[in-house]
């Protein structure tokens, strides 16, 4: 049975996080800048400035957040199962016992693929936390982890 102590996500995933943050904040900044422009009846150059200002502010916040988010995200594999720590303000720990794993998906979005990363989704028969997601893994690591979780499970499962 393979085990390892706490590991961080691949550092490349921080880039993925930040690139998507750029895109999301670009969209999110639109409504408030329209509102600001309307409210103070701004001219075009000022409107663009307002948009850029709001966008910079929002992105700055998410940049800062992403740093701490990445630092907080750790996972380890014990004999009992997979344990994931995450969250900056609301800190969460998920524990999936090996023998409760139902099936495991590996997915990767276009951006993740670009960086050679993939996401592991571990499903249990639960309801609220039926699936636990672990992003930012190298494809090989994800496959290894999946194999390890499934292998140990098979020997015990009699359902």
């Amino acid at each position: 049975m393979k085990t390892f102590d706490f590991k961080p996500l691949e550092i490349k995933y921080l880039m993925v996080f930040r690139i998507s943050a750029v895109l999301v904040t670009l969209l999110v900044s639109l409504p408030p800048s329209v509102g600001v422009s309307k409210f103070w009846d701004l001219d075009w150059p000022l409107r663009v400035m307002a948009f850029l200002g709001i966008w910079l502010l929002l992105y700055g916040l998410s940049h800062w957040y992403s740093k701490h988010w990445y630092k907080a995200y750790r996972y380890k594999l014990t004999e009992a199962g997979l344990k994931i720590h995450k969250g900056v303000f609301w800190q969460q720990q998920n524990m999936v016992p090996r023998n409760r794993v139902q099936h495991i998906d590996i997915t990767s979005g276009p951006l993740e693929r670009k960086f050679g990363l993939s996401k592991l989704v571990v499903h249990t028969a639960g309801t609220r936390n039926a699936s636990v997601t672990l992003p930012g893994l190298l494809l090989d690591d994800a496959t290894d982890l999946r194999q390890e979780l499934i292998n140990t499970n098979q020997s015990e499962d009699t359902v």
Partner: protein, 497 residues
């Protein structure tokens, strides 16, 4: 896939039932059409869609087949979008049967098969002759037993109670119990409240209602009322409302729970209930995921509790027949006996309750005060000093906060995890370690400030809203320890559906 046995179709009478069901589905659009204010062509459009949908439902009858194969139940349905569903017998969680008056008249019933797949029932076989239902039940029971014998260790067999005992129900409700249950439940409160608010808000209906009432009590001359008359009539109306809520709640309880009876047949719970529509449910005991004991102030007044269970087939009331009761109303002592009989493998004496952190009352107090203070802001703004009156409730909030921490508690041992909480509406939930799917630890910023954390466990078919096992207001070190301990125990125990 090759099907080895001859398939069955629905009973010949089923178009009638399907038609009635379709009409039921049409009632809502029709109501919109008639009561709705517009009265335009769009209403006809809605009615047209409903009519078309109902015709489709009826035609489905000719396309519905089912098979009782060697190891599985197969259901084929659909006209354009055909579906072929195969449910292995051993994966069937619950088997529920529903019979209303019309069903009884034609000696047929609706059969619902649940597996652990989620919200929707695996298969609903709508109109099946009584003898056929019995046959299906027997086949499924026989095949499941065969499967269990083949795969399970003999240790589980010693737990089973011999079949001779099966005839004696574990628990049944007398009419008196059902009446009390209806009174406690106040089920009719919401519908009557909705009707009442519609009556009072809509001028047209209100006038109609007043003139209707005046037919019985004579002209009221509302416009001439003095303050005392308002009080007297208001009180009278309140009493009438209360009594009608009680009576209709009791009537609803009788419809649903009349002659409620639960018994143990081999390793299954067998439940029967209902006045006009009779429901028969069959739940394998080992599939019970969580047991919950609840009581409200009214329950305590009658010295009773309600016991519910969760099974892995998470069918909700909107999607099919549900059976969540172990005992809708039972005395505390008998309730404990009942649970002990249903799960004799758990050592109920060994449960040792531990309290939450006593200092946590401050957090409950602060949270409750926030609920009090926020609505006070507009009150103070508009009424100045008078707006501060809610502050008089502060001592009550203090008492509540103390009581909350006092009454809440948790227990963890080698067999179970349990959590209890609630001051007025108290609930106690028990999950067996083997049924735990995963464990979550959460620390909010507020938790962190108080060096606390919370721990919740997830089970199959659990209620995502109530989150029954959520150990809260505990020291971080304790939660860390619990997390470790539980992970260890869960990973060492085998989960069987």
């Amino acid at each position: 896939m090759e099907l080895k046995t001859k398939g069955y179709r629905l009973h010949n009478i089923s178009p009638l039932f399907l038609f009635i069901e379709a009409v039921k589905k049409m009632v809502l659009p029709l109501l919109f059409g008639i009561v709705g204010t517009s009265g335009d062509r769009q209403d006809m459009f809605i009615i047209g869609i409903a009519a078309f949908a109902s015709i489709v439902t009826i035609v489905q009858f000719w396309f519905y087949h089912y098979w009782l194969e060697e190891d599985r139940l197969v259901v084929k349905e659909g006209i354009l979008f055909k579906s072929l569903r195969q449910v292995p017998y051993e994966r069937i969680q619950n088997l529920n049967i529903e019979r209303n008056l019309l069903h009884k008249f034609f000696k047929v019933g609706t059969l619902q098969v649940e597996s652990a797949s989620g919200v929707k029932p695996e298969a609903v076989i709508r109109v099946v002759a009584d003898e056929r239902i019995k046959h299906i039940q027997q086949v499924i029971k026989y095949k499941t037993a065969l499967h269990q014998e083949a795969s399970e260790s003999p240790s589980t067999d010693t737990e089973s109670i011999p079949t001779e005992n099966a005839a004696v129900p574990l628990y049944q409700m007398s009419n008196k119990d059902v009446t009390k249950f209806g009174f406690i439940s106040h089920k009719a409160l919401v519908p009557i409240g909705i009707v009442g608010s519609v009556l009072s808000q809509n001028d047209y209906y209100r006038d109609k209602f007043i003139s209707f009432a005046q037919k019985f009590v004579g002209d009221l001359h509302v416009e001439l009322w003095a303050f005392t008359e308002w009080v007297v009539y208001g009180l009278m109306l309140a009493v009438v409302m209360l009594v009608s809520i009680w009576l209709s709640s009791i009537a609803l309880a009788f419809l649903k729970l009349y002659q409620f009876k639960i018994s143990r047949v081999d390793n299954n719970l067998h439940a029967e209930m209902g006045l006009l529509t009779k429901i028969t449910a069959n739940i394998p005991i080992k599939r019970i995921q969580l047991i919950k004991i609840k009581h409200s102030p009214l329950h305590r007044y009658f010295n009773k509790v309600a016991i519910k269970m969760e099974t892995a087939g998470g069918v909700t009331e909107q999607n099919g027949i549900t059976m969540r009761w172990i005992a809708p109303l039972v005395s505390r002592f008998n309730g404990q006996q009942l649970i002990a009989k249903i799960q004799p493998e758990v050592n109920w004496q060994a449960i040792e309750w531990l309290g939450l952190e006593t200092r946590a009352w401050k957090r409950v107090f602060k949270r409750m005060m926030l609920f009090l203070l926020v609505p006070m802001v507009p009150l103070v703004y508009f009424y100045h000093w008078v707006g501060l009156t809610p502050l008089l409730l502060t001592p009550l909030v203090y008492i509540y906060a103390k009581a909350y921490i006092d009454k809440a508690g948790y227990a963890v041992n080698d067999q179970i995890v349990a959590y209890r909480h609630g001051v007025f509406f108290h609930s106690l939930s028990i999950v067996k370690i083997t049924k735990i799917q995963n464990i979550t630890y959460l620390q909010t910023p507020f938790d962190r400030r108080n060096q606390m954390a919370r721990l919740s466990v997830d089970t199959a078919g659990s209620n995502p809203v109530t989150q029954d096992i959520n150990l809260h207001y505990l020291d971080v070190e304790k939660v860390d320890e619990l997390m470790l301990q539980l992970s260890e125990k869960v990973s060492q125990s085998k989960f069987v559906w």
